[in-house]
Every structure is written in structure tokens, then in C-alpha cells.
């Protein structure tokens, strides 16, 4: 049982504030992904949980125990590093068994555990090799096996797949998800890759400039972004934004058209809509086509709507040419609204 609680954690490096007052609870056995662009503080947060970095203020609790004053080895965690950190002077077997030996486990138990995780990660045949004789993918497997062998309460992963090539990454992603679900450990996974985040996470914490902007399930983050940053960061291509002027009693003027929107707000808002949530219709936004990108499964069309560039994902059977004027209707239940002042979502 290992619930992780992060209470009011802040971190400064000299004058630079890397983390601002982070509060986050990660449930036992939950797979939490910290997602954000580089420099957003996600790795710093992970390293504070691991004990490789000390928080300037705040507390870290793992399994009901306050750990922020403990050394990494006393926190019940295991970590997988971006560059794998497989010890070059030890065999794969000794790498995986390193932590077990440090814990003074009997030889038989070390062998049993190493062989179990090795077969789990499909590296049984590599146990006698050194890291110099392994490919990147194999090293990654060794690094994960080494963490799993500890049977930790919490497994921490810092961009573990980012050094692998695209195909291998896809394969390892699926495998990691299966292995971690079976191991029943709490997992925190840092990545800048939103697809990785969406596919792995039980919950995603989107981070931006040292703050957690939204922590929710992948589909919630995708459908109901809590802030403009989340809406523009998640999704490829990202959400479209159009300026909306209030026209009274829940009506809004968007690019000359009148749209139903929030009743409460009276200042200009932004209408946000995902590219795949727009349909060709008789009635809607007038969009002049600027660029057509056929992507096989569908057609990605970049258009000019009243001076703002938006993208729409359309059926690949359509014949659309540059210069055409399309009438695009946003699906009403998929339209979201943001306040440009606070950048937060408006209901």
C-alpha cells in the first residue's frame, strides 16, 4: 500500500523558482503521468519524490510515512532513468540483483527474483552480458527489470522511453503498461510526449511553469482542459481558438456567426474546439482553405476564419482545394470556453 502525498512542495534554484506550491495525491497502485514541456518542473518534482533533490519547502509522504528527510534508499522507491543508468562494470544479472544484494538477500532469493523479472522483461538470454553489449532497447529492459526486482512500493520513471526509436517506443509502451499493472505498484512517470501520457496514465498531471495546471484522467484532460495551456498542449494538432464577443444572454459572436455559450460571462472569451470536432455543414463558420494535408486516414485542412488560422480534420474522401471556402460547424457538445484574462476554462 503506497499512497503518495505531496504537500505544498516548492523548489527554488537560486533566484529561479522551479516549483510553486505543488499539492498532489497519488492513489495506491495508480499510474500517474507528469506531463509537460521541458523546463516545466516535472523532472524536479520526480527527483524530489525520489530523494535525489530536496524540496525548498513542503512535505512528501509515501504510504502514510513522511519521507522528505530520508535518503533515497529508505523511501521504498525504485527509479528508471532516461539514460538507463545500467552499471557498465556489472553483468545484466548483477545489475538486476544490485539492489537485492545491497539489501543482503540470500543468494537463492536474488537468483529467483532476478530470473522472474528477467523473464517478465524478456531478457533471460542476456543475463551474462555487460551493458556495452546491449542495444538501447535491451538496456531499457534491464533498467526496468532492476527497478521491478526491488518490488518497490513506488516506481518512478523519468522519460524512460525517450531515447528509443519510434517503433521500439511503441512496443515498450504497451509492455510497460502490462508489466506495471501486474506488479501492482504505484507508478509516477515523467514524459513530454502526450501520446505516451494518454496511453499509459490512469491520471495525467499537466505541468506548466512549475505548477500543476490540471490533474485528471486522460480523457478528461483531453475533453475538458482546465486551462488554455492544457488545451493548446494536448492533442495533435491542438485545439483551435476563436475570439468570441458577448452578444447578451448566452449568445456569442464568433467570426460573424452567433453561437450559444456561457451565460455568466460578459467579457470577450475564446471559443475552443478540437480539429476533429468540426463538421462540414450548411450553417457555420466561413473558412477559407489555406493548406491541405492528406494524412491517409483523414484530411488535415488549415483554414482562415475571420483572420484566425484554425485546423480541421475532415474525411479523406473529400476533395478540398486551397482557396475553397468551407462552412465548418463545431459540434455544440464539444465546444469549450476560455477566459483570455485568467486563461482558465469557463463553464
Amino acid at each position: 500500500m503506497a499512497e503518495i502525498q505531496i504537500k505544498n512542495v516548492a523548489k527554488t534554484f537560486g533566484a529561479y523558482q522551479a516549483l510553486h506550491d505543488i499539492n498532489l495525491t497519488i492513489a495506491d497502485q495508480e499510474f500517474m503521468v507528469l506531463l509537460g514541456a521541458s523546463g516545466c518542473g516535472k523532472t524536479t518534482l520526480l527527483r524530489i519524490i525520489a530523494g535525489l533533490e530536496t524540496a525548498t519547502t513542503g512535505e512528501v509522504w509515501i504510504g502514510g510515512r513522511r519521507v522528505d528527510h530520508l535518503a533515497p534508499k529508505d523511501r521504498g522507491i525504485a527509479m528508471v532513468f532516461q539514460n538507463y543508468a545500467v552499471f557498465p562494470h556489472l553483468t545484466v544479472f548483477e545489475n538486476i540483483g544490485f539492489g537485492l544484494r545491497m539489501a543482503k538477500m540470500p543468494n537463492a532469493e536474488v537468483t529467483r527474483r532476478v530470473e522472474r523479472v528477467a523473464s517478465l522483461m524478456h531478457i533471460e538470454q542476456l543475463l551474462k552480458r555487460y551493458s556495452g553489449e546491449l542495444s538501447g532497447g535491451q538496456r531499457q529492459r534491464v533498467a526496468v527489470a532492476r527497478a521491478l526486482a526491488m518490488e518497490p512500493d513506488v516506481i518512478l520513471m523519468d522519460e524512460p522511453l525517450s531515447n528509443l526509436d519510434a517503433l521500439l517506443r511503441l512496443e515498450m509502451r504497451a509492455e510497460l503498461k502490462g508489466v506495471l499493472a501486474e506488479s501492482k505498484t504505484t507508478a509516477i512517470y515523467v514524459t513530454h510526449d502526450q501520446v505516451e501520457a494518454m496511453s499509459l496514465a490512469d491520471r495525467i498531471s499537466v505541468m506548466h511553469q512549475g505548477k500543476i495546471v490540471q490533474a485528471a484522467s486522460p480523457i478528461e484532460v483531453y475533453r475538458n482542459p482546465a486551462a488554455h495551456f492544457v488545451a493548446s498542449f494536448i492533442g495533435n494538432p491542438p485545439m483551435n481558438f476563436l475570439r468570441a464577443e458577448p452578444a447578451g444572454s448566452g449568445k456569442w459572436k464568433v467570426a460573424g456567426e452567433t453561437v450559444d455559450g456561457p451565460v455568466s460571462a460578459a467579457t470577450p472569451l475564446q471559443l475552443a474546439i478540437r480539429p476533429e470536432d468540426m463538421r462540414l455543414a450548411d450553417d457555420g463558420l466561413k473558412a477559407r482553405v489555406k493548406l491541405v494535408e492528406p494524412l491517409g486516414a483523414h484530411l488535415l485542412v488549415t483554414c482562415d476564419v475571420d483572420g484566425t488560422m484554425i485546423r480541421a480534420v475532415l474525411d479523406s474522401d473529400l476533395t478540398v482545394k486551397v482557396g475553397d471556402v468551407l462552412t465548418l460547424a463545431p459540434q455544440p457538445d464539444r465546444v469549450r470556453w476560455f477566459d483570455p484574462q485568467s486563461t482558465l476554462a469557463v463553464a
Binding site: 533515497p72 527509479m79 543508468a85 557498465p88 545491497m102 526491488m150
Partner: protein
């Protein structure tokens, strides 16, 4: 048009290449020719050494070397040299390696200044320090001792020990240590179980380099010792009044071990100056 512009370019490249080769040959000759003369004169009979013109092929006359083997005080001086060099080696690594580790792993105020100051210790000419040092050593009773001389040699060797180990530690990814910490190691445990095995060859090289610095050092050795002379100081004193062929042989005895050691650790010396190990 293209032919006209290409020709001078090729010309320039060709002469540049000649200049490069000539410089390499000149530099090699500058180092190798004296060594070669030292070599053939050591292995020549006294008559050949003093005659002119000289042959370019050694005679393999071991008379001069045999003379040194039986020379009074020679063995004692050799023993002192090795003792001082070994002490220097141990002390400079024990002091230099932790400093190298700290420079590579920690950020602290004045780090850059500290790195520069390490090099600055080499900026003071030893003759300038010799007199105060000798006075100080006599006061505390370290004069004419092997340990006292080893202390001075350690001071000379430490900048190199620090810089070499700094580059060695910097070559070990911090993640390896961090991984060890998360797997149950203390800071010291991670160092002995992960870092030390990885840098041991480099540490050895750094130690050998300290050994060579001490082995070659003559000024402090000559000033600070009387009875317990090291080999260079001993030879300096004895060879001043020796015949030419013995001077050559003495020089040879001094140079060869140093050359062999330096050659053995050249890779790490290049690494110290940031040149890729090729």
C-alpha cells in the same frame, strides 16, 4: 572559371598540408633526436662517446650502465627515489581525488576560482619557495627526510591529480550514482561499488603520473636533502664531475622509467586537457 578558382585552392591546401607534415616532423625530431643520442651514447664505449664523427648505430657496450649498477650510493638513491615517489603517489591521490570528485559533482561558491587556484600553484617557481621551505623544514625537523620531500612533491603533483580525476569523475554519469542510491546505497556505498570500479584505471594513471613528477623532480630534492638524496639529486651531484659517457648513461637511467610510465598513461593525460581519447 571554376578551374581558375579551384587551382589556387588546391595549391593552398597542398602547401598547408606540407606545412603540417613539416611541423609534425620538426616537433618529433625535437623530442626524439636528443633521446636517440642519449640512447646510443649510453650504449657506447667511452672512446666512441668522446670521438667524432659519431655513428648512428649503438654499439651495445654496457660498460657505462654496469658502472652505475656498482656505483657507491646509487642503490640507496634509487631506493629513496622510489620511496619518495610512492609516498607522493599515495598522498596526491588521497588528497587530489576527493577534490576532483567535489569539483565534478558539487556546485559551490568559488568553484571556478578554486579550479584556477589549483593551476596557480604551478605558477610559483620552486627556487623561490626553496629557501623558506628549507628553513621551515629544518625548524620542524622534516629536513633531509623522505617524507618531507614527498610532501613537496605532493604539492607539485596535486594540481594534476585534481584535474585528471576531475575529468574522470565528470566522465561518469551522475545517474549511475543516483541509481545506486535508489537501489539501497549510501553516498559512500555508491562511490565504492559503482564509481570506484569504473575509474580505477584512470586513478592508476593519475597515480603513475604523480610518481613520474616526483621521479623527475630535482631541485627540491637537491635543496632539501643531503644524506637521503633521490636519484636525480644524487646523479646531479655526482655527474657534475664525471666523464661524458657516464653523464649520458646517468641521463638515460633517469629518462627511461619516466618515458615508459608517461607512455603507459598518455590516454589519461590527453583526457585531462580535454582532448578526445584517440
Amino acid at each position: 572559371m571554376t578551374a581558375a578558382t579551384d587551382a589556387p585552392q588546391i595549391d593552398a591546401r597542398r602547401s598547408g598540408r606540407w606545412l603540417y607534415i613539416a611541423s609534425v616532423v620538426l616537433l618529433c625530431a625535437w623530442v626524439l633526436v636528443p633521446l636517440y643520442f642519449l640512447f646510443i651514447n649510453t650504449l657506447s664505449s667511452p672512446e666512441t662517446v668522446n670521438s667524432f664523427p659519431k655513428g648512428f648505430v649503438p654499439e651495445f657496450d654496457f660498460g657505462s650502465l654496469r658502472f652505475f649498477a656498482g656505483f657507491q650510493g646509487m642503490i640507496d638513491a634509487l631506493y629513496n627515489s622510489v620511496l619518495v615517489a610512492v609516498l607522493t603517489m599515495i598522498m596526491s591521490i588521497l588528497i587530489g581525488a576527493p577534490a576532483g570528485y567535489a569539483l565534478s559533482r558539487f556546485d559551490f561558491r568559488g568553484k571556478e576560482l578554486f579550479r584556477m587556484l589549483i593551476l596557480l600553484t604551478r605558477a610559483f617557481p620552486l627556487p623561490l619557495l626553496a629557501l623558506p621551505l628549507a628553513v621551515l623544514f629544518i625548524r620542524v625537523g622534516l629536513d633531509d627526510t623522505v617524507f618531507g620531500l614527498a610532501l613537496v612533491h605532493t604539492t607539485l603533483a596535486i594540481p594534476f591529480a585534481v584535474l585528471i580525476t576531475f575529468s574522470l569523475f565528470s566522465g561518469i554519469p551522475i545517474e549511475l550514482e543516483e541509481a545506486a542510491w535508489t537501489l539501497g546505497c549510501t553516498r559512500l556505498g555508491a562511490f565504492t561499488k559503482v564509481v570506484l570500479p569504473l575509474i580505477l584505471p584512470g586513478i592508476t594513471a593519475s597515480a603513475i603520473f604523480a610518481f613520474v613528477i616526483s621521479w623527475n623532480e630535482v631541485f627540491a630534492a637537491a635543496v632539501l636533502t643531503i644524506e637521503n638524496r633521490t636519484l636525480p639529486a644524487f646523479l646531479l651531484q655526482s655527474l657534475a664531475e664525471s666523464p661524458l659517457h657516464l653523464k649520458f648513461a646517468g641521463g638515460f637511467i633517469l629518462v627511461v622509467p619516466a618515458l615508459i610510465f608517461i607512455f603507459a598513461v598518455r590516454k589519461y593525460l590527453f583526457a585531462m586537457w580535454g582532448i578526445a581519447n584517440r
